[in-house]
């Protein structure tokens, strides 16, 4: 695993840049653990102060120190993205491996359900949940709902790999030596799909964080919980751009672009690494 990592850093500029960007954002988000202020409280400092030595990112119209506010917001959003990604990965690995290996009617039923989930647009459903639950909708509930819709595409990918693995020599050896189906899937096949799982993990994080931003900007999440989306929502509702509090919009936007670009580059370079043809081309073989 470590040698793969070293190769990627050395031969793949995209991966290196992505790694740097994500590391910066993660460190920034981790700072919120030592935050001197509670990010959920308002009017704790002078409102509308521009960035200065005292307030690195300035303060917003709600009297919050933006540096700590954003730090907490990014922590919550990253944790949210990771939660969705982990939950949906579990579903997609289970469905993909089982569907590909067992085949037959199990495969058909699973893929039928899979196609249904692909075609149901998640956004109206999420809005509906918010409409019914209002502020009882905490971020874990939201993550759970998103995870239920975030697995089908990747399950298909994993299935296509699993179908190929099924006919390989070592699978037959394992079966003939009396391994149970569950063991074959978990011990023999899982390592092969791990790279795909990692690449789709990043993509899934992007998708879920983006969706959360979308919902929050429209005001369709619990607005008292600081996330990337809710910071933008409050900046919007105070017309930050119009009244000249530009740092309230510009700094979060810059950080969001960094986060998304970083995760995206990681996903792309992992995808490339999985495909040996492009890896060889890159290493100049």
């Amino acid at each position: 695993m470590f040698s793969v990592f070293r190769d990627l850093i050395r031969y793949n500029l995209e991966f290196a840049i992505g790694m740097v960007l994500v590391t910066i954002v993660v460190v920034f988000a981790a700072l919120s653990f030592i935050s001197p202020v509670d990010p959920t409280l308002i009017y704790m400092s002078m409102p509308d102060q521009p960035p200065s030595a005292e307030y690195w990112f300035g303060t917003n119209s709600r009297g919050q120190d933006l540096f700590w506010q954003l730090s907490a917001a990014f922590r919550n959003s990253l944790i949210f993205g990771i939660t969705v990604a982990v939950l949906s990965r579990i579903i997609s690995i289970a469905v993909g491996l089982a569907s590909g290996y067992i085949g037959g009617w199990v495969d058909r039923v699973l893929m039928f359900i899979n196609d249904i989930f692909v075609a149901v647009p998640i956004f109206p459903i999420l809005v509906l949940f918010y409409f019914v639950l209002r502020n009882n909708m905490d971020s874990f509930t939201l993550a759970l709902i998103m995870a239920c819709f975030g697995w089908p595409f990747d399950a298909r990918l994993i299935r296509s790999v699993a179908v190929g693995l099924k006919h390989r020599e070592f699978t037959r050896h394992a079966v003939f030596s009396g391994m149970s189906t569950r063991k074959v899937l978990l011990e023999e096949h899982l390592p092969y799909v791990m790279p795909i799982v990692f690449a789709t993990f990043m993509n899934n994080m992007l998708w879920s964080i983006g969706l959360e931003v979308t919902l929050a900007v429209l005001g369709f999440t619990n607005l008292n919980n600081p996330t990337i989306g809710t910071v933008l929502y409050w900046a919007n509702s105070h017309s930050a751009m119009v009244v000249g509090v530009w740092w309230w919009i510009v700094i979060p936007v810059v950080l969001i672009v960094m986060t998304f670009l970083g995760l995206f580059l990681l996903a792309v370079s992992m995808n490339e690494y999985i495909d040996p043809r492009s890896r060889l081309r890159r290493m100049g073989a």
């Binding site: 647009p121 998640i122 809005v127 492009s278």
Partner: protein, 334 residues
């Protein structure tokens, strides 16, 4: 042909299943929640005294009838479907007593126009440029293009729309940033109205194109650069087939298959992007309607928008899937 018909009927069954499950999910979400929709709506209404009492009463009757809160849940479910088939989801609160479905019908053309245009532009142009970039990996201009799309592609819809809004709202006020058409023209089939609609659609469409473009470009570039070294391309080059024919006839056609699948997958995401874009530019489509409906607590309208959009997205995916076997001989053989 026989096989294709079989394929279509299987897909059709799937489409119906999707619509059925999606709409049932909306029904379930609204009914399994601990909150009583009728009381919630009426509670929100009584806070707004600008509605006449008969409107509140009619709403109460309509809602109680619609959700049949006193009937068993199965009966409610059957009633819901019966009403839905008639296209009746009760009156909306936003524009009482206009039926919710009528409001959706009025907003639909705006969203459809915006979505169809921007999706077609992004898909066609993105794939063409991507194919060229994959076929000519050393072209400086296309390389720069790839870097730019890589930078824009992961940025959320909202941010791109907002940056456009800032640029054209504050620094370069040359394009309208608000509404579907100017206030001073009368809607109708006349040149001032049409040109106004077109002008107002430029920015929202641009933001959708900017965000969507990169994905198609990068995806196609990766696909084509893998195909370029295949034997049949080398053979065609050696046989002296024109480059345009190779790219257009062989390479794009083969790489198009996974891209079409991706298009079907992306349609749902495009829809949620439209909602944001409409909200930012105050465009009179489905997205703005949904946001208003949620903020007003307009139950019938939220249900109407959800059911219509689920049906529309599923239908669009179905149509894309029908094109699929026409391009891919492997699927056709099945």
């Amino acid at each position: 042909m026989q096989g294709y018909l079989w394929f279509v009927s299987k897909r059709l069954l799937q489409l119906l299943a999707v619509i059925f499950c999606g709409i049932s999910a909306t029904f379930l979400v609204t009914h399994l929640s601990p909150i009583d929709p009728v009381e919630q709506v009426l509670g929100r209404l009584s806070g707004r005294s600008n509605l006449p009492p008969e409107a509140i009463e009619a709403t109460r009757v309509a809602l109680t009838e619609m959700y049949g809160t006193n009937e068993p849940i199965l009966q409610q479910y059957i009633n819901f479907w019966l009403r839905l088939v008639r296209g009746d989801l009760g009156p909306s609160l936003l524009a009482f007593p206009t039926p919710a479905m009528e409001l959706v019908g009025r907003a639909m053309p705006w969203t459809l126009g915006l979505l169809t245009t921007s999706t077609l532009i992004t898909f066609i142009v993105g794939n063409l440029m991507g194919a060229l970039a994959g076929y000519n990996p050393d072209n400086k201009f296309l390389k720069a293009f790839g870097l730019i799309s890589m930078g824009i592609q992961p940025v959320p819809y909202y941010v791109v729309a907002f940056i456009l809004l800032i640029i054209f709202g504050y620094f370069l006020p040359i394009l309208p940033i608000n509404g579907g058409f100017a206030m001073d023209v009368r809607p109708g089939f006349s040149w001032p109205f049409i040109s106004s609609v077109l002008q107002h659609s430029i920015l929202p469409a641009t933001s959708l194109v900017l965000v969507g473009f990169g994905g198609w470009f990068l995806g196609m570039r990766a696909l084509v650069s893998n195909v370029v070294n295949d034997d049949y391309v080398t053979y065609a080059e050696l046989a002296g087939v024109k480059r345009e024919t190779i790219v257009g006839g062989y390479v794009i056609r083969n790489a198009m298959v996974p891209q079409l699948t991706a298009l079907a997958m992306a349609l749902g995401g495009v829809f949620s992007g439209t909602i944001i874009t409409e909200q930012v530019f105050n465009y009179p489509g489905i997205g703005s309607l949904l946001v208003d409906a949620v903020n007003w607590g307009d139950y019938s309208l939220v249900l109407a928008v959800s059911t219509v959009s689920i049906t529309a997205v599923a239908g669009a995916i179905f149509i894309v899937d029908l094109i699929h076997p026409l391009l891919d001989p492997r699927v056709r053989a099945e």
